[in-house]
């Protein structure tokens, strides 16, 4: 019994590398948080999509026109969890601005779990800032539980409600183009974030601004200036530099015949 309770540390090479990477990231993350608490202000390189998003928010605030936010075509309970969380972070940032600047915002999802999270985010934004056009929960809509049906529903929404902007951040598949192309034809300003390389050509050809790979996870740092997000962004940079260093080192060792 006791023997079974003792953890059996069987780590293969891949898991060992993954664990090393995770602990390195954790170390960098806490170092970055401590540096930020100490007053360090990180330099954020300009990302066009966030500048575009800012312009969209300003335009929507002036004209009181609708912004549509989509959490993508994947569920929170899937391998796209992190991407959907990035979408929820974007929604949180948009909801706060929507309440403060009084522009209408509607969020759609194909996942009931994300729907509950979205309703919570909208309600919290409404209750903590001001009585605005979000916060009643009706602005969060569950469209359909399947990616293609969801995309068809969004095609209809973009055609009928003509939002000023279409912000899509989350897990995306090929069906993205059904929504993206309708948005482009309708002249809707589109900001799209994806981490899937196979969807990239569709996004580049249909969106006005796009967030590629790691950029889509940076909304909390760029839009909200959240300290935890800024810290993780710094840790991402440091971890990337570590990985690049390891790759270069291994290439040199292999070239020199030492590996």
């Amino acid at each position: 019994m006791l023997e079974q309770l003792i953890v059996d540390w069987h780590l293969d090479g891949t898991k060992l590398v993954a664990l090393g990477l995770l602990f390195s990231f954790l170390l960098f993350f806490f170092l970055a948080l401590s540096a930020l608490r100490g007053g360090r202000s990180p330099h954020l390189r300009p990302i066009r999509a966030f500048d575009g998003l800012e312009r969209l928010i300003e335009a929507s605030s002036e004209s009181a026109q609708l912004i549509h936010c989509s959490l993508g075509t994947a569920s929170l309970v899937s391998r796209f969890t992190a991407e959907v969380l990035a979408g929820l972070t974007m929604l949180r940032a948009l909801a706060k601005r929507a309440v403060a600047s009084r522009f209408p915002l509607v969020v759609t999802t194909l996942d009931p779990v994300s729907l509950a999270a979205s309703q919570g985010i909208l309600a919290r934004a409404g209750s903590t800032l001001a009585e605005g056009q979000v916060g009643k929960g009706e602005e969060a809509r569950f469209v359909a539980p399947e990616p293609v049906s969801y995309a068809a529903g969004i095609m209809g929404l973009l055609n009928r409600e003509h939002p000023l902007g279409n912000v899509i951040v989350g897990g995306l598949g090929d069906e993205y183009l059904l929504m993206g192309e309708v948005g482009a034809r309708e002249g809707i300003y589109q900001v799209v974030g994806t981490s899937a390389p196979q969807v990239l050509p569709f996004v580049v050809t249909s969106a006005d601004e796009y967030l590629l790979g790691e950029e889509m996870f940076a909304a909390g740092a760029y839009v909200e200036k959240n300290r935890a997000h800024l810290g993780s962004l710094l840790a991402q940079d440091w971890t990337r530099e570590l990985i690049i260093g390891i790759i270069i080192g291994l290439v040199i060792l292999r070239t020199a015949g030492l590996l």
Partner: protein, 214 residues
């Protein structure tokens, strides 16, 4: 009105549960242990059950939005009516006494002969959408658009047996493009996205990102 202490307690309990659950499931990935595995499987099973229950919330939300469209006599109320009627028919035939649930012949017929063909029809629109998106991108006359056009032409020609036979170098050029620039670009994006995923996970695991407490 809740006091600050009550709010802190209300937040700290779910936070502790979330951090513990996340740590157990993560540890199960790295470590081999029977008990850890059982607890992890149990937690993952609970997630599936919660997601299934949340589907009821989704149904309520859809009904609310479409009933409101009918009541407010919006332009799309006919579609809203169709959607609600279809939902009622599927639910009734799925839960009717003696029904075979999702395997009931009526439910299966609706899925096989209405839903699946409609789904395939919508998806097949992609072919036309790809063409129009490519056309719009190429009309932009930018350096990226020219590069996209050149690459697309080389990859297309490299896949065609006639072109590869007439000019074997095109096939080698296609293979080189796929093996080096494309793979390098894709790996760069995947590496960056993976770091973003690790960052999101770490923030959630240490309780600094609390979407679930919103």
């Amino acid at each position: 009105m809740l006091s600050g202490e009550e709010i802190a307690v209300r937040q700290s309990i779910p936070l502790a549960i979330a951090i513990t659950a996340g740590a157990v499931v993560s540890a199960d990935y790295f470590v081999t242990n029977t008990y850890l595995n059982v607890i992890s499987d149990l937690l993952v099973g609970w997630v599936t059950i919660i997601a299934a229950v949340a589907l009821l919330l989704g149904l309520l939300n859809v009904s609310r939005v479409h009933i409101s469209a009918i009541v407010e006599r919006k332009g799309n109320r006919f579609y809203s009516l169709c959607l609600l009627l279809t939902a009622v028919v599927i639910i009734v035939f799925g839960v009717w006494p003696g029904s075979r649930g999702p395997n009931d012949p009526v439910v299966v017929w609706i899925f096989d002969y209405i839903y699946t063909p409609l789904n395939a029809t919508i998806f097949s629109l992609l072919a036309f959408f790809v063409a129009s998106a490519a056309y719009r991108a190429l009309r932009a006359h930018t350096f990226e658009a020219t590069l996209l056009l050149l690459t697309a032409v080389i990859i297309l020609l490299g896949q065609i047996p006639l072109a590869s036979t007439a000019w074997p170098e095109i096939s080698h050029l296609k293979d080189w493009l796929v093996a080096y620039p494309m793979t390098a670009g894709m790996r760069g994006i995947i590496l960056g996205a993976s770091l973003g995923i690790i960052a999101t996970t770490v923030r959630a695991l240490v309780g600094l990102d609390r979407h679930y407490l919103e």
